[in-house]
Amino acid sequence: MAVPVAFFALFFAWPVASIVERGLRVDGVWQFGRFGETLSRPEILDVLWFTLWQALASTGLTLLIALPGAYVFARFEFRGKGLLRAVVTVPFVMPTVMVGTAFLALVGRGGLLDELWGVRLDTTVWAILIAHVFFNYAVVVRTVGGLWAQLDPRQEEAARVLGASRWKAWRTVTLPALAPSVAAAALMVFLFTASSFAVVQILGGSTYSTLETEIYRQTVVRFDLTTAAVLTMVQFVAVGVVLAVHARTVRRRETALRMVAPEEAARRPRGVGQWALFAAVLLSVALLIVLPLGVLVERSFATSHGYGLDYYRALQTPDPSGTFLVPLLDTIGNSLRYAVVATLIALVIGGLAAAALTLPRSRLRSRGGTPTAGRLVRGFDALLMLPLGVSAVTVGFGFLITLDEPPFDLRASWILVPLAQALVGVPFVVRTMLPVLRAVDERLREAAAVLGASPWRAWREVDLPLVRRALLIAAGFAFAVSLGEFGATVFIARPDSPTLPVAVARLLGRPGELNYGQAMALSTILMVVCAVSLLLLERLRTDRTSGEF
């Protein structure tokens, strides 16, 4: 537990605390009066209200659309499942600038909806909500689906045999088992959408602003660090409340579950109802995810003289002005390297944290347990989630004023980029692994201990095989997050080895057909790289351990 705590203290708590202190203490005097003053401004209240309700609406909508998807991925066996699962994760890595472009092409002027029905949704809140579903679909499918796939379907079947209706069997057997992971997914989606930045800026026009865009505005544009600090504190409190509520609801629900290998539980859809569900999910994926991505792919081939590979060819040749110090294709290598390092860091830190969060509980229970220690552990659990809900600009600026002295003079170092990415990856690792780790039947570990296994051996022989799948899913998340991570990365000064999303943003920032086309082509490559990496990661799972449990 010491390592993850140290990691968070150094790379999160310390920088954020420093920047907040800088804002709140002017010339040695604390400016607490600014809280009341800032929080009574009507435009700030508008921002807070909009942030809250759009996040709640986005979360609800995402769950509504993605839970059937999670079911289909967990329970049905069909061709191309791995590929489809990779595809739905692609939005996760897409630079938000590109997603904004894609959605404008669908719901904006001259877009599909406009052509068909004359409906335009850009600069409406609907565009923001739909884009949030697009981004977070995979969060639900992967977090919930990961556990669902391993639930023993025979329990539900038993309930049916005993006379329960299908709905009742699901509600009383499956839903309670799934609750922790549904709550975890909802929590992540909420935190993500509450701190949404680029989507709101691009699709919302100048009309909407969230807490996140407001903190950015106060810090970067107005350089009013005091107001920014007040808003950061508000963000902290809000996220804290959300985490507390989440912890409360989940704590009572977590129980040991019977788990099976996913291959045993999944089968082909049967009957009209299942096929209809299957078709509906495929349709929603096609409309919400494949179509927007398809727009970008289409544009990457559309040159001024018909379709062609011109933009892709241009990526290999040096820029006419020699502007990028490295060929654009090298940015793929940069991105992959950063992502691998970030994934490793996230897995080590997140894995240790998840293990620490599971183990003490069992030990506590056997000793009769102390409530303080339990609370401490839960507090730590919540702490790990904070980076998801706290503004990237706060963290980025915080890095600047804290990591400036040896041995942590990291500001000019490349390692800062994967570190910042890992900060966002860790919560995913913890969230995906924790429900599974906690669901491992304690008696299995006890049995191992009775039979003379050391704690390490018990973990290796009991926990590891059971969590291997969750570990891979977590790795996939961490990898995808760091591959597409843009928020934190742009707030950190980078030596000139741009990542792919950064290169895309730079291309879009210049006039000229070739720049625009190359941005589209690079984004398409980013999609493919992401999908292929995730597919490879899933392949790692081929060793059959299913016989053991």
Partner: protein, 369 residues
């Protein structure tokens, strides 16, 4: 918070060796990321760190030339957009991220100078730079480049409509150009701010509000960023064509048409876009030696180099700006497809610093509401 951050940092350091151990271990395999940025092999030569905004670029040969002349290697650190990069330097004053900062423009100059992030240095060769660019009498900053923010027009649109494109600010408010112009929000975009300042310089502190009221009545559209304006709304760009952009007038740069030619596929004989030369605001970018620089000698040499003929002539095709040194020649692309902006609007940095926030607020309630 502690009053003694240093001891806290040391304590933290001791406790955190474990964490760092993990991260460095994980990092072993990717040492080449670092090497891609610097030169590999041989013991590292003395480096000088240049902090700049994301748009900074220079060709490899030119940076190599600097190393050959001085023995210093340049390490470039990109620190966000211009406003963000300047704020970061203010935040880290006294313990800067590098030695030289490049990219503070006249709209941000006062903020940078008032916060004391630069120390004076009289660059060698400054006599080749016209006095009009040297805005700081104490020489804390050195002018490096200049550019103009102007309305661009889609040539094809105006040819098809047999309509003369607008030339001046006044033209933009005429009924003939109703619903044709898209601008950027001055609070969130630097060309947007430049355009607002241009109108304020033209119509005066009290007159620009009337002008914008007319623009609004004439159907001006506002978006948040240059990217959205140019790649989505402007009918003359590749992105705008695909997105069916319907605004043939956009606030962009005087250098945009040559860049359209450079990145045409294939390169067109004439630029597809033109510049309304009576709608321009002059932007000048400066570099300065950072207060607390670790390598001030290297920093001074670098500033000298930034106004050398070699660097000044490399700049236009790298960052699409004009050189300030009199002896630097413009590339053919610029002389052939660019325009000469004879009388750009200008404004003193002190005035910009004073008026910027209230004006943006007035603008918002006038145009956005």
């Amino acid at each position: 918070m502690s009053t003694n951050p240093v001891s806290i940092k040391k304590a933290a350091a001791a406790a955190l060796v474990a964490a760092l151990g993990v991260t460095t271990l994980a990092a072993c395999g990717t040492e080449d990321v670092r090497e891609a940025a610097g030169k590999s092999g041989a013991p590292a030569p003395k480096t000088v760190t240049l902090v700049s905004h994301d748009s900074f670029n220079a060709s490899k040969e030119v940076l190599a030339e600097f190393t050959k002349q001085t023995g210093f290697t340049v390490k470039v650190l990109k620190s966000g957009d211009a406003g963000e990069a300047v704020n970061k330097e203010i935040l880290t004053k006294g313990s800067p991220q590098g030695d030289v900062f490049f990219g503070v423009d006249n709209t941000l100059l006062s903020r940078a100078l008032d916060n004391g992030i630069f120390v004076p240095y009289a660059a060698k060769g400054l006599d080749r730079v016209p006095a009009e660019y040297q805005l700081d009498k104490e020489q804390r900053v050195t002018p490096i480049d200049s550019g103009d923010i102007c309305v661009n027009y889609d040539k094809k649109y105006f040819a098809d409509k047999k309509l003369a494109p607008p030339v001046t600010f006044d033209d933009l408010a005429k009924p003939a150009y109703r619903n044709l112009l898209v601008v950027e929000n001055p609070e969130r975009s630097s060309p947007g701010l430049g355009f607002l300042l241009g109108t304020a310089a033209k119509y005066g502190d009290e007159g620009w509000q009337d002008y914008w009221t007319k623009l609004k009545a004439n159907g001006v559209k506002t978006v948040d960023s240059w990217e959205l304006a140019y790649n989505q709304e402007f009918s003359g760009s590749a992105g705008g064509k695909q997105a069916k952009g319907d605004r043939p007038l956009v606030v962009s740069y005087a250098s945009s048409p040559p860049v359209e030619v450079l990145y045409g596929e294939p390169q067109p004989k004439v630029a597809p876009t033109g510049v309304s030369t009576g709608t321009c605001f002059r932007q000048t970018e400066f570099a300065g030696l950072l207060n607390g620089a670790k390598n001030p000698e290297g920093g001074k040499a670098l500033i000298d180099f930034l106004i050398s003929k070699k660097f000044q002539e490399d700049m236009p095709l790298q960052m699409f700006v004009n050189p300030v040194a009199k002896d630097a020649a413009l590339p053919e692309l610029f002389t052939k497809h660019g325009v000469v902006v004879a009388k750009p609007e200008t404004m003193a940095p002190e005035k910009i610093a004073e008026k910027r926030d209230p004006w943006i607020q007035q603008w918002s309630s006038l145009v956005l509401k």
